[in-house]
Point group: D2
Chain length 217, copies 4
């Protein structure tokens, strides 16, 4: 029996859908994860490009946008075990070019930028508190890498009962096999998978419906 | 360039090794994750069998053993979004046969059993506090599923700077492709991978060395 | 300059008010914290009585009710440092009479009961996830002790950006000086303070307004 | 019965003592919490002075030193509910003079500085992970305010099973009543209380003993 069959038979992969208040989460789209000579490569540049319309849509519709970056202290004081496992992470400091968000997606004033030291955007950060403050119940997730920080973030979002939609063409990885394997895992267990354009269409429909029902009232 | 090549070139997959104070963590080896008719199957029964000598070794050497189980309230009061994604999780209640640890690995008095509602053994539990209390710095991880609760637990352990050794033949999954893909991800990014017998040999050697140096002193 | 003066001058103690979706949190009103021969006494019995109308109100208006209890494993496996500091905490096990919620406030099926091992209802529990699942943005807090588990819970609730209203006559402590000092701290820094009857009146008004605006629409 | 009596009779206030690996935690000794015109005053300047010898001792003996600061984004993007309760917190941004650690205690390269947005040094930070990385089991706590960030940090440290010694003359508050009330609460429930000089003497003795036993071996 193939993997798909047993997952279907055990009823994995149900849809959880959208809640009422989405935010767009852009995970670790920084220069160092874009560049194949540092920690990037693969389909990450494509995922950055595919994120552009989603980001523009969110900004136009006042959907909160939250970015994440990995930032370690330049003096090595908070170096983690993860930096032993993956030594180049240590280069991602506040001022290093590698840790700056790619220019095409640069955050605007008022958009939250979460600094983190680990894979998950929730670990050791105030992201959970920010989501409560903004009454968010749904995370649209883009970023990289699919098998690293995106996956870890999505697992934590599900653990906290946030509905999560992974924008499948807006997440990328340095190698395609882990990318695909992690999309499978997330789709079966932790999030819905939709392409960026589908997400835009779905949100557009929901906003239109809300406006309609308000006008009719 | 294949996935392996780019991971090697970017210097992923360094070894983090053992610390001084290991604990054995047995993740979710419960009847419901053993049985292919519920949430189990695949190589999980083999992983249970392979865990037996590791568990016996830990008990003989006074290495702390910690078990985890998923437990939801029988009245549905704490049902999570995860139970929408994977409906059968809801059946794992305190008294349900599906949520009991498999008989061959039954916990003994004094061994910690962590009840959890999410994938990671750290999420919403006092596992981190228990590790501090016991001065643990290294987790030997067995259990299931490789692509679910084992992976989520290992990511959180790394995030907390615990050295993690995944016992590669003592973790199992309902389907082999996700099992292998998640072993790859964990080995590259979050933990060392060793077979159970190698872990026993390595710990044996370390204990022998400690005894030697004490006797010589 | 007295404490009050400097707090006022530095602009502490602003009101944060109610959000839209309150829950009633009943912290550790268990037999052992009621009984002065165990860990209780002082004005805790009065606070239990004062909580009754608030609990009844919440149940009538379908405001979610969440209880907490301290529960340690009977075999001592998860005993904490806190049990060294306060040895009698160790007696609060799943089946012990001391750790049962007082009969007059007994939880009903469907009401969440959070088991915890530390002061804060958030520490090592899935309370934060439950609040997200139920879209709660405001916690009405009753329970005991004011200077212990209530205070710790309120600090964490504020940290997570939940609006918190401490029902000042529905929280109690074994001694009155710490009770009063902690009400002061919470009122200045972490929560609004209102009497139970005022909270009922305020919620009643809000519900009436909501119904009105719906009917008018 | 006075508060003290019932706490004694219920066996609160046991000593938890030192572990093997202490760190010195300096909580929020920043200009804004020093200055009575901002958020400081009271005995905070005295507590800063009393911390100097403890800090020098820690540095001489290679005891890790960890500082904390409150830092909010200057664009208001991560403003919290706490900033509504205490509006001046919002002024504590990365570059603001109010949020810089007081010059006499300035951190040296290699000393961890934890940025936080809430009272507890553990909330939304990687402090817990840093303690694991450095194998710390004991926190010596200085800083301000006793009734705010010190108290919240000490409760979380206890919850994580870290032994905590509050240096009673090295913590301060804008008003003395809350200072004293919170020392009482912490001493009864969450930490040992010792004066800075006593802590130095105790650690000196422990280090001497360790050297002795090593030399004799």
């Amino acid at each position: 029996m193939s993997g798909d069959d047993i997952y279907r038979r055990q009823r994995f992969g149900q849809k959880t859908g959208f809640g009422q208040f989405p935010a767009l989460l852009v995970v670790d789209f920084v220069n160092g994860f874009h560049d194949p000579e540092v920690l990037g490569g693969g389909n990450i540049p494509d995922a950055v490009m595919a994120t552009l319309p989603l980001l523009e849509f969110a900004r136009n519709r006042a959907i909160p946008v939250i970015f994440t970056r990995i930032v370690y202290a330049p003096d090595g004081s908070d170096a983690s075990l993860w930096c032993q496992k993956v030594p180049r992470l240590q280069d991602l400091t506040e001022e290093a070019p590698e840790s700056q968000i790619v220019a095409t997606l640069a955050p605007r004033p008022g958009e939250i930028v979460i600094r983190k030291t680990q894979a998950s955007a929730f670990f050791g950060t105030h992201l959970a508190a920010c989501l409560v403050a903004k009454k968010i119940d749904t995370l649209i997730v883009t970023g990289c890498t699919t098998s690293g920080c995106v996956r870890a973030t999505v697992v934590d979002a599900m653990s906290l009962n946030y509905r999560t939609i992974v924008a499948s063409d807006c997440v990328g990885d340095r190698a395609l096999d882990p990318h695909r394997a992690n999309l499978f895992d997330m789709g079966q267990k932790y999030s819905d998978l939709m392409r960026g354009a589908e997400i835009i269409a779905a949100l557009d429909r929901r906003i239109a419906e809300t406006v309609d029902s308000t006008e009719m009232a």
